[in-house]
């Protein structure tokens, strides 16, 4: 078992003049304060990667700058799944008795770095195969556009249906002062937004941001917060969409089944009080919700429209606004989902507080539905 003893999250959007290490440092300081820990208490550090600061030793660079000399530190890379993979590794290291307090931290000046969004689009497209995909001129939205086209065809989902998930994320973000986009939007706004890779339009896509997030995973509680990671799992089925076993069935279920098995409990995602699900695109969120058994195939968008996934609904989802509206600054994007989960489970989400978040299921994917990581978090009495 492990405890999430402290969390820190910066507002996402523009942090002009700050680099990756600056942003990581700010989030790390918040997480340490929240956990009531000092720098000397941290014996493990995990970081992800930063597209704006490629470095072969990002964790060490961060530790030196921030003033840490841990017994264990390194970076980790699985694309969008990196955040939850770091949480899983921190949990495993702590649960195994190797470490006492692991700081997990990520941040990036992805929006304001030289080159801005154009550079981000070009860099991230390299997720594709260098010989058989990238020369064709695809983008990340194009890979997901292909997935969306096939999924919509097989399960009778329309562009207006998918738009419901963008609207929900924006509705949630409107209540969070740190969210990048807070102006309410409608289904019509999503449908009228600029086409990016049809059927995906601008408002179907996550928002490029600067930002950072951090949390501490500990062997023992350090204060009031009593939230544990009780299970974690992964699944990796392919890297490139060309080699995916299917364009409509991915590894999410397998990953979550492994997390449930690791908990040693008879749990089901339908027992969740709170959901934190990766939402790089509307189609990503729709597929993950359906694969994880939270909605029948093709029905997640309809259920969102009916309020099922709203803050006051049956299964509150990404109450901070997710990648689509809180914003996406790379690895910290998914960490924001976990931070919000911990705030909800500790009753500290303020005007976003859900009724009762005792059990939460979290899931992230990296690549093009390629790498999956699932986490289960539980509040202790």
């Amino acid at each position: 078992m492990s405890w999430i003893t402290g969390v820190g999250l910066l507002p996402f959007g523009r942090h002009e003049g700050k680099n990756t290490i600056d942003l990581m440092s700010e989030a790390a300081a918040l997480a340490l304060d929240d956990a009531g820990l000092k720098r000397g208490d941290i014996d493990g550090v995990l970081t992800g990667y930063a597209t704006t600061m490629p470095h072969i030793m990002l964790a060490t660079v961060f530790c030196e700058h921030f003033g840490l000399s841990p017994a264990y530190a390194h970076g980790l890379q699985v694309g969008g799944a990196t955040g939850f993979a770091m949480a899983m590794l921190a949990h495993e290291l702590v649960a195994a008795g190797r470490l006492k307090h692991v700081l997990v931290v990520a941040g990036e000046n992805r929006l304001s770095a030289p080159g801005g969004r154009d550079k981000v689009v070009e860099t991230l497209a390299q997720v594709g195969h260098p010989v058989h995909e990238v020369p064709l001129g695809p983008t990340i939205p194009a890979y997901y556009g292909l997935v969306a086209n096939r999924y919509m065809h097989e399960h009778g989902v329309s562009e207006a249906d998918l738009a419901e998930l963008a609207v929900l994320m924006r509705t949630n973000a409107a209540t969070h002062p740190g969210a990048q986009f807070r102006e309410p939007i409608t289904v019509a706004d999503v449908l009228a937004s600029k086409p990016i890779a049809r059927p995906l339009k601008l408002l179907d896509c996550c928002a490029t941001a600067d930002g950072a997030a951090a949390f501490v995973v500990s062997r023992e509680r350090t204060g009031e917060a009593a939230v544990r990671i009780i299970g974690a799992g992964q699944a990796h089925t392919h890297q490139h969409i060309s080699e995916a076993p299917s364009l409509t069935e991915f590894g999410a279920r397998l990953s979550m089944d492994r997390a449930i098995a690791a908990s040693g409990r008879r749990l089901a995602t339908t027992g969740a009080d709170y959901l934190a699900i990766y939402d790089s695109f509307t189609i990503t969120l729709a597929i993950l919700l359906e694969e994880l058994g939270l909605a029948p195939r093709g029905q997640s968008c309809r259920m969102a429209r009916e309020g099922y996934f709203s803050r006051t609904g049956t299964k509150p989802l990404n109450t901070h606004g997710g990648l689509m509206s809180y914003g996406h600054c790379g690895v910290a994007g998914a960490l924001a989902h976990l931070v919000e989960t911990q705030l909800q489970m500790t009753g500290r989400a303020g005007n976003r507080q859900v009724a009762d978040a005792g059990l939460a299921f979290l899931h992230g994917d990296g690549g093009v539905m390629s790498s999956h990581v699932s986490l289960i978090m539980e509040r202790q009495a």
Binding site: E122, E133, G137, P138, T139, A197, L200, E243, L247
Partner: protein, 108 residues
């Protein structure tokens, strides 16, 4: 310029695939056969790229990307003529686009 689309096949286990390798990803057998495909297949998925990733591709945008299930049993990503849809029978070959060889499909 027009060339055949190529794929590979494992002699012992008959697995076929598209991304070039020096061994079979299923059974590990070495020296797979390199074969020329007929170019016939069915469209599995389509997207129209409106926002291209690089300056040279921006000149071509919007363009149609397709996933095609080749009759030989492998799947590949390619460019295609505008208007292609899931289920369309297509025929394709490798052409030159933006100065590089690109598999391209049109309705059969």
């Amino acid at each position: 310029m027009s060339d055949m689309i190529r794929y590979q096949r494992c002699t012992p286990c008959r697995h076929v695939w598209y991304f070039v390798r020096s061994f079979c990803p299923k059974c590990g057998a070495r020296e797979p056969q390199a074969l020329e495909a007929s170019g016939s297949g069915v469209v599995h998925a389509v997207t129209i790229v409106e926002r291209a990733p690089t300056p040279d591709m921006k000149a071509l945008a919007p363009y149609t990307l397709v996933m095609v299930d080749a009759d030989e049993g492998f799947r590949l990503m390619a460019h295609g003529t505008p208007g292609l849809a899931i289920g369309d029978r297509v025929s394709g070959s490798v052409i030159e686009l933006a100065g590089r060889p690109i598999p391209f499909f049109k309705r059969a």
